[in-house]
């Protein structure tokens, strides 16, 4: 079991009011699963993704990521877990504009203290896998949106994470690039990577094996 959430609640405090963002969420994801979480904006799906991705901590309930209880860990232990277990793919790619594609992909390995030569080799291999072997030294502004998202996927996968977390990965792409990205996801899942995808696009969710819906902080 890679994700095991039991009765997870998340409240935000706005002024004097407590606003619940997640209510009694129970979620189990087995290794190798491909899950899509759908919901309209404001439904709490980004909050859920932040908690799954160890960027945020729940107010109550338990969350085990790959068997680790994460609510008691400190900042730097969380950073290590994020680095080792999770690959992030964002709607806006979030590539560093000053770095080449290869250096962008190699970044997580830097934080894992991998030696430089190996970083470059593994980054090159990851880029080859997403079909960008010939764009290694291009900077993000020299690449199309679809190419940028594939660089971001290579960056997410380069450290060999167990879980790939994607937040509206096709949201900023034209439909053809979006399809390419989704096919890449399917391929990665077929090779054993667990994928959790957050989207409000019905078409995108069809690529997943399981789809769950979230409304007003309640996961169904």
């Amino acid at each position: 079991m890679i994700i095991e959430m039991t009765d997870v609640n998340k409240d935000y405090i706005q002024g004097k009011m407590t606003v619940p963002a997640l209510k009694h969420v129970n979620l189990q994801v087995e290794e190798g699963d491909y899950l899509a979480i759908m919901g309209p904006s404001g439904s709490g799906k980004t909050t859920l993704m932040n908690i799954i991705g160890l960027l945020d901590v729940q107010t109550s309930g338990t969350y085990l990521l790959d068997g680790n209880r994460v609510d008691t860990l400190n900042d730097s232990a969380l950073a290590v877990l994020r680095n080792r277990l999770i690959g992030f793919v964002f709607q806006q790619f979030n590539l560093l504009p000053k770095l080449s594609a290869q250096d962008n992909v190699a970044l997580p390995l830097l934080y894992a203290n991998v030696p430089k030569k190996e970083r470059r080799e593994r980054a090159a291999a990851a880029l080859e896998k997403v079909g960008l072997a010939d764009r290694m030294n291009f900077r993000p502004n020299q690449l199309s949106g679809g190419q940028c998202q594939r660089v971001a996927i290579a960056r997410a996968m380069v450290g060999g994470p167990k879980l790939l977390l994607a937040d509206e990965p096709t949201g900023a792409l034209d439909s053809k690039s979006g399809e390419q990205v989704m096919e890449l996801f399917s391929q990665l899942n077929a090779e054993g990577t667990t994928i959790v995808l957050i989207t409000h696009d019905q078409k995108v969710s069809t690529y997943a094996r399981v789809t769950r819906h979230i409304f007003d902080g309640e996961l169904r």
Binding site: G53, D56, D75, V80, R82, F90, N94, L110, Y111, R155
Partner: protein, 414 residues
Amino acid sequence: MFENIALAFQGIWSHKLRSFLTMLGIIIGIGSIIAIVSTIKGTNEQIKENLIGSGNNTVSISIYRGDSPMSFDYEGVPDGLTQITEETMSKIQALKEVAAATKYVERTYSGNVFRGDTAYNGAVRGIEPDYFSVAGYEVYLGRTLEDSDLAGYTKVAILDATAAATLFPNENPVGKTLEVAGEPFTVAGLVRKSSRFEPVIKTFKDYNTYMSRSAGEIFIPSAVWPVVYMYDEPEKVLLRATDTDSMTDAGKKAADILSGTVTAQDITYRSEDLLEQAKKLQDLSSSTNKQLIWIASISLLVGGIGVMNIMLVSVTERTREIGLKKAIGAKKARILRQFLTEAAVLTSIGGLIGVGAGIIMARVVSGMSGAPMAIDVTASAIAVAFSMVIGIVFGFIPAVKASNLNPIEALRRD
């Protein structure tokens, strides 16, 4: 670490104008300090050179009653103060700081030297033949003093250029006669300093400081001193130190040996040390300039605040980058280090440019005003190190702010 530094350089280079403007405060601050330090050092070296160079590492040791130099003309020779024995001289010559030593008697203002109606008011010294080699003089006309002059009580005089010009204007004095206390002395030769050291004179103050020593000198054999001045007059000592830095030690040790031979109350030998004089003059010139350094430091403070300001802007601009880095596994400490490195690299470059600018400034000022300058390597190194510290100190708040950014907020921001 090296990668951090390389990345920091990249970041600085990609914002050339902004980085330069940020560094400007540091450049101006460090530049002014280096310019001031260079001027202080230049002045100090010139003072030392002027005083010591003109003295040729020589130290003169005179007799004092209390704190004033003794004048035997008025006071007579007290009991318990005698002439210097050969034994005492050899003790002084044996000191390791002493290269050579000789004893002599002296009137600083002669008062009784004439040629016809022309009076001479410079110094008269009764010396032994080795005086010239100790003092660093050479004979350039006529002959030097010889042992036979002492043994035969010959009434000969050796003049320096000033004395010669006073008494024998526009003529060759060798072989001519002058009067000391009514006694005729034949001029045997003319001497000058063999090092030909010319002190650098730029102001009247310099002139008064360095040129007052050359009011004219006449040398006669010490053997004939009693004929014109006084019997058994206790001598002074002139010694040459092995090097400039041992001048003070050589003088003090020799004076101690000499004072040990005196049994008279309140009378001591004291060394007149040009190195010490130089230090006093240096302190005087440094203390005024050191206040300027404090003023220049204020611009460093302003520069540091400028760095902090720009770093804070930079943190805000790079919020997404920081958020992304944290999301993919960068720890707080790494983000902190990244920003500290960037600030430190920025101010270190500023410091380096500042040192260069300061040296150029000092050169330009020195070229225009004639004030001397010298590059102080230690001060330059400290200046660069200090600017790095400024970067770390003033980069700290922005770096902490960056490292504490919440990745969710950071990623959400557009």
